[in-house]
Amino acid sequence: METLITVLVGLLVTVAVYLLLSRNLIRVILGSAVLSHAAHLLLMTMGSGLKKGSAPLLGENAASYVDALPQALILTAIVISFAVTAFLLVLAYRTYKKTGTDDLYALRGFDDE
């Protein structure tokens, strides 16, 4: 299972890199979102493996409990990446309204001052 998830992470990173390298601003943002999901999956898989014990609750009588820390980390990271992606989307919209383009080639350099 871990191997499968790792391959999936690799696939997500490939997609994300492809999107990040494109000229379209929206694609870049989508790429950054996919990239963060790859990181979250990797965090879960790297942590202590996927589900090996029962949920870390006191009521559950189990021999082993799963490590809860990676999930706490992922939760925090998801919130952060949500905020950053939301900000980037607004930024892209503002930039589009101001410059009339979402092509990154047209946006390089500045000459208005």
Partner: protein, 495 residues
């Protein structure tokens, strides 16, 4: 335990920021509250710094979870020196903001985001947990995204796209590095990490992970990977640029010092050599950039790059004396870079131009500003009575001790390029024919001059009164050199 005070340098700015949101339209109350809060942060930080000298490293375990299980804040001399400097520089920059930023910004949550930024910066300095450091970095970066775009001019929007994207990417690397590190050694507490890494030995796997962290912090600090820096630092308003130039790169530098002195200090032949080479290339690239441009903002931004290379040359040398030099330079650079950015911004405000060949003879119109620039230039170059001198002495001594002559040569050469690049501004803009006549002379506001004077006084004071700083800095360097002191303070035997 009365260690709760450690969290104050982060909590005070955070709470102030939240309160200020509700005072949106009341600009005057915002100003008063922000000044009071800055003074409180400075006072608290100074108290903590002095307590460390008597009681050793302080720590606060949140929720009573003993390390290595809980998240904790650790205050040692190194982090507290930076917190103190951050608080003071921010306080002074706020005064500049009052007279320069304009009502539109003040109504649009400018001050709250300054405080959120400071909370993130102070949090990154104080935290003793790697993931918590990631979170504090994000707090700082999100506020910086807002500050860089606020105003919404075209150049700001265009530059911030690059800035945000590159930081998203480096945060991603940070997260991946944390994932690998947690998967390998199973902890994220920095002291505990240090113990575990020393136990299993820093093999090739851990060295590769450490190089990932090197990439992350190089992107944040602008070590070699500084291509995004000059553009984004010349886009925002003066105060924001000064804040970025003074604080943001320093957080990356701090993290690099922490990681490579506390955790990954076993394979210096690989990691520290890489840092050394990157520092040399950074100084060379920064010097070329500082000479190549005619835009004041670009020249000043490239000066930030040179300083980053200079400070991390100290880390590459990895000796106690070199660390002392680097710490002195960090403190000095935070103050003087803020001053340099403020003066450059003020010059652009007064003349309405940014190219050096378009200004001339400003010293006739604004003598005070001219002399302040002169002091800044001397201080950055490291002329004796000013604050840049002592760090160069220590760094040179460290370089000779460790036999890093190439680093020494490049570091001191970069000083000459700093001098030349600033001298170019001074000769072109302040000397020569006065082109602004007495009539259409834009008056220099007192509120703009006072912060510059305060910062200039600080650089002179640090230069002359460096004796007062010695105990703190030598304690900080000693802790960096001996990770056991830090580990013992955090884990206290329960390993």
């Amino acid at each position: 335990m009365m260690n709760n005070i450690i969290v104050m340098p982060m909590i005070i700015p955070l709470m102030t920021g939240i309160i200020l949101i509700f005072l949106r339209t009341r600009v005057n109350s915002q100003r008063i509250l922000s000044i009071l809060s800055s003074i409180a942060t400075i006072a608290v930080s100074l108290v903590i710094l002095n307590r460390i000298q008597h009681e050793g490293i302080l720590r606060l375990d949140f929720g009573g979870w003993l390390p290595p299980y809980g998240i904790l804040f650790v205050a040692d001399s190194f982090s507290m020196l930076l917190v103190v400097t951050t608080s003071i520089v921010t306080g002074i920059l706020l005064i500049y903001a009052f007279s320069s930023i304009g009502k539109q910004h003040e109504n649009m949550f400018f001050y709250p985001f300054i405080f959120f930024l400071v909370a993130g910066v102070n949090g990154s300095f104080l935290t003793g947990d790697l993931f918590n450091m990631f979170v504090c970095f994000e707090v700082m970066l999100l506020s910086s995204y807002v500050l860089i775009t606020m105003g919404g001019r075209r150049i700001q929007l265009v530059e911030s796209i690059k800035y945000v994207t590159i930081n998203v990417l480096s945060s991603w690397f940070f997260l991946i590095g944390i994932a690998y590190l947690y998967g390998t050694v199973g902890t994220l507490n920095m002291a505990h990490l240090s113990v575990r890494v020393a136990e299993v030995g820093q093999g090739p796997l851990l060295t590769v992970i450490s190089l990932m962290f090197l990439i992350v912090f190089s992107l944040k600090a602008g070590l070699l990977l500084y291509f995004w820096l000059p553009g984004s630092y010349s886009a925002p308003p003066t105060v924001v640029a000064a804040l970025f130039g003074a604080l943001l790169t320093k957080v990356g530098i701090y993290a690099m010092f922490r990681i490579f002195t506390l955790i990954f200090y076993h394979e210096t032949a690989i990691t520290h050599t890489a840092i050394g080479i990157m520092a040399i290339l950074t100084m060379i690239g920064g010097s070329i950039g500082a000479l190549a441009y005619n835009d004041i903002r670009k020249i000043v931004s490239y000066n930030v790059v040179i300083a980053v290379g200079f400070i991390l040359a100290g880390l590459a040398m990895s000796s106690e004396v070199a660390f002392q030099g680097a710490i002195y330079y960090l403190i000095h650079d935070m103050i003087v870079k803020a001053l340099l950015f403020l003066i450059a911004g003020t010059m652009i405000y007064l003349t309405g131009k940014a190219k050096i060949e378009e200004m001339s003879g400003l010293i006739r119109n604004y003598p005070m500003l001219g002399w302040l620039f002169f002091i800044t230039m001397l201080s950055l170059t490291g002329i004796p009575p000013l604050s840049g001198f002592i760090s160069k002495v220590f760094l040179g001594q460290g370089a000779i001790e460790t036999g890093s002559y190439l680093l020494l040569a490049v570091a001191f050469m970069s000083g000459i390029f700093v001098l030349y690049s600033l001298l170019r501004i001074f000769l072109n803009c302040f000397w020569g024919e006065t082109i602004i006549s007495e009539d259409d002379d834009v008056p220099l506001k007192k509120g703009m001059l006072v912060p510059c004077v305060l910062l200039a006084i600080m650089t002179v004071a640090i230069g002359i009164g460096v004796e007062g700083l010695v105990p703190y800095v030598s304690d900080a360097a000693r802790t960096l050199m001996n990770p056991d002191i830090y580990i013992e303070a955090v884990l206290q035997g329960n390993r």
